[in-house]
Amino acid sequence: MRDIHTFAAVMMKKLIFCCWGLLCCNFTLKSQDASDSLWVNDIQELVVTATRSQRMLANVAVPTLLVQKKQIQLSGLLRLNEILQEQTGLMVTSGTGSSAVGGGVFGNGVQIQGLSPDYTLILLDGEPLIGRQGGVMDLSRFTVGNIQKIEVVKGPSSALYGSEAMGGVVNIITEKKRSNYANAAFRYGSFHARDFMASLNLDRHKNTMHFFFNYNGSHGYDLTPNRPERTLDPYVNAALQLKWTHRFSERTHLVWNNRLYRGKQQSAFAINSDQLNVFGNGITQDINVQPTLNHFFDDNLKTSFRLYASYYRFTQQLNYQNTSESYYADDFVHGFYRAENQTDWTPHPKHHIILGSGYNLQTVNTTRYRGLKQQRIGYFFAQNEWKVSDRLDFIPGLRFDLNSDFANRLSPKLAAQYRPNASLQINFSYGAGFKAPDFRQLYLYYVNNPLGYQLYGASEFSLNELLQQQRDGFISRILPEAYQIGRLRPETSHGINVGARYQFSKIPARTEINFFYNAITDLINYVPAAFRNDGSIVFSYLNIREAYTRGLEWSLSSQLGKDWDLELGYQYLQTADRQVLENFKKGEVFGREYPGGPALRLTRRNYTGLLNRSPHLLQAKLAYLNKATLWGGSLRGIYRSAWGVLDLDGNSFANMPDEFARGYLLLNMSVQKTFHQKYTLQIVANNLLSHKDPVNLPQLPGLNWLLAFTWNLF
């Protein structure tokens, strides 16, 4: 009897250890078994984002990408946008963050399966990051210094994650090790780029403490010497993370994760002048507090309570130098608060069920809205991973979002995996996605007199007010659209992914192919609602557009000999706005051959799809790491074909050469050597071909280098 108890206790400990790893991104377990390879991710590698519970990469039925710390380190890249743009099928959009007046250029977001950055959910240790400017989360805000791994799930994932997870989910998972270590890294490079980071991890009995600090700054650069403004003005930022894990018992753990960020971006503009005359700063502050309590009832039942509070503030003040008069001021404060419970239950060896529910409160206060705005969402989700047989899994799931400001939303999903043999997996998944109308679309209250327009969020728009103004003689015409403006519906998508993964048996290589199709409906767009007598236009928001994105993605990763690794990735993408396709059928699409040229009737063949999408995206990476000499290095190439950037002839797509950005090849490399297992010296050279495009790729300076020194103290 006693033996049984001991056995049970040991099993319980093992299980808890496993589950513990599960929750906090296991790697202590796996790091020893994992392949030495840099880019051939072991199919036994565990991922958490695809099903909200720890699963082997091979058993995940939705397209999932995993980027590991060793890959990040070897590349020598520092910011999240730089790492993501090297991954198969991910396209990082352009911008230099808050440098632009009023955030006119909204920073580097990530496009997945052809859906804009607005439709990608970015998670930090499982909780959503906030602070989007114009819908885009600027990923250059995040250092990769203490990232353990990045998981990217492609395709609509709202059945698990709710709003914004229409194109996919990027989950940034920070370090979590039960060991004692300390390290520091110093970097210096082009444009006085400097970066310092330090980590300290202490593990004592029931507690693990993790400290991380990062300081990052640059003097910026100028790609347009003939203009007074610089492309990127100087900036500095610092991030601090503090993660405390307390184990009350073998069964109950608390993880308290805190992150602080503060960034300062200088700005200088020449306004109606040949010389810089307007100066100022943009300050970004970001705070995340994230306590999680996990409890294991037994080996079949576990629950976790999570609280999350996040605060984001962006303030910008630009003044004329001579008069100290204000040229532009902006203040944007966003709060996000969440309480959530998730319970994992295995009632039967063939069924793994997760049930969750939560409540979100969001608040926004900005100079562009009338007062403080709030949005509340309550939600419930459920998923069953049903192991039908050794070869077949079914994973149905469902989520229901009830909210205060727009129509409720039900998001189903169904994924299936079939394994005809040990090396082949065939995956199918259907998922629904949605994006709740954002604060801007609901509450914007923007009267821009010099440019002659007014833009109102749908909740601020009042038809009665327009009718009254028409009676009073201020409005000349109310358009039919004005009568449709009212309660916005969420933007929705339905996505299908069909693909296969194959693990070669004789050589250490793996290949994957996936076809995707996303049908997007109820896209929210601004529409003119009325014309005022003074010539200005009144705009508001309406669910009007429909579009699709479709394409295929292929990747191959292979070890070449003992020390070399190769990874290739390719995405082909087609997109279309359905209204434009209709107009083609009616023969009502016109365009010009050059700006100011005569209008010509265009045919379907001239259509290039939605703006900012490249049809071809190719990534090739070669890495070297010798375990004996401790020499290492990598060479990575990213090719992106030409993409439409603007519409100059009113047909909403790019057709003349002036409307496209040139395709380009980006080559990045790194070389490193580790001494005495303790010190690593690394030289990084990015953009070897020195591709520059100040208008469309302001975030890309020419050839730039970086020297890094890393010291592992213990």
Binding site: G473, E588, F590, P598, A599, L646, D649, N651
Partner: protein, 198 residues
């Protein structure tokens, strides 16, 4: 229509049909020459309109605004036509979707005139404004069919609208323009006929 046959007889038959088809109209259709011109217009809704005469092919002074010597006036993005509430003329306009060169004849009716608070040409007829990029562009394929102040006919297409300073030099954001340089092409039929052919 041009089917393809091997026998001589068929070729003969086709040739006959071809000639028949080509000679629907007896006289050949030679389009009138299109003119392309640029005018500078105030970039705000204040100040004078810029007035244009198709007959002269140039702008006319604002002091002539009460006469029938102009056909349309333009300020920022607002078009006036010389009729109704805007002037003493009999001008009218309709904006249609089509290819400029395909339109060989002005319609007989359907011309709108200016009324107080209800101008004949609406902003969304001919340009799109993009609040995100703060640019506006004339839509390709929107053709203005115009009855002039003196009952002649013209067709016009706006090719370009560039933000400029008061001398017509391009300005780029964040600088604000004081003028907009509009470039348009038009065909004017001085004979009073609705046809845009010679």
């Amino acid at each position: 229509m041009c089917s393809y046959f091997k026998s001589w007889a068929a070729i003969l038959a086709i040739s006959t049909m071809f000639f028949a088809a080509c000679n629907d109209d007896d006289k050949p259709q030679i389009p009138l020459d299109a003119m392309t011109t640029s005018i500078l217009v105030n970039a705000t809704n204040e100040g004078n309109f810029t007035f244009f005469s198709f007959d002269k092919g140039t702008t006319v002074p604002a002091t002539d605004s009460a006469s029938i010597r102009w056909d349309f006036g333009l300020r920022f993005t607002t078009f006036l036509f010389n009729s109704g509430s805007s002037g003493p003329g009999t001008a009218g306009v309709q904006v249609i979707t089509g290819a400029f060169s395909d339109i060989q004849q002005a319609p007989e009716s359907g011309y709108k005139t200016d009324a107080p608070g209800n101008l004949a040409v609406k902003d969304d007829d001919w340009f799109i404004y993009n609040p995100a990029t703060r640019t506006f562009s004339p839509k390709a394929g929107q053709v203005f069919l115009i009855k002039t102040a003196q009952n002649k006919y013209a067709k016009m297409e706006i090719l370009q609208a560039d933000p400029t300073d008061s001398n017509g030099n391009l300005v780029t954001p964040p600088n604000r323009p004081t003028k907009i340089k509009y470039t348009f092409r038009y065909v004017y039929q001085p004979s009073g006929s609705r046809s845009f052919n010679k």
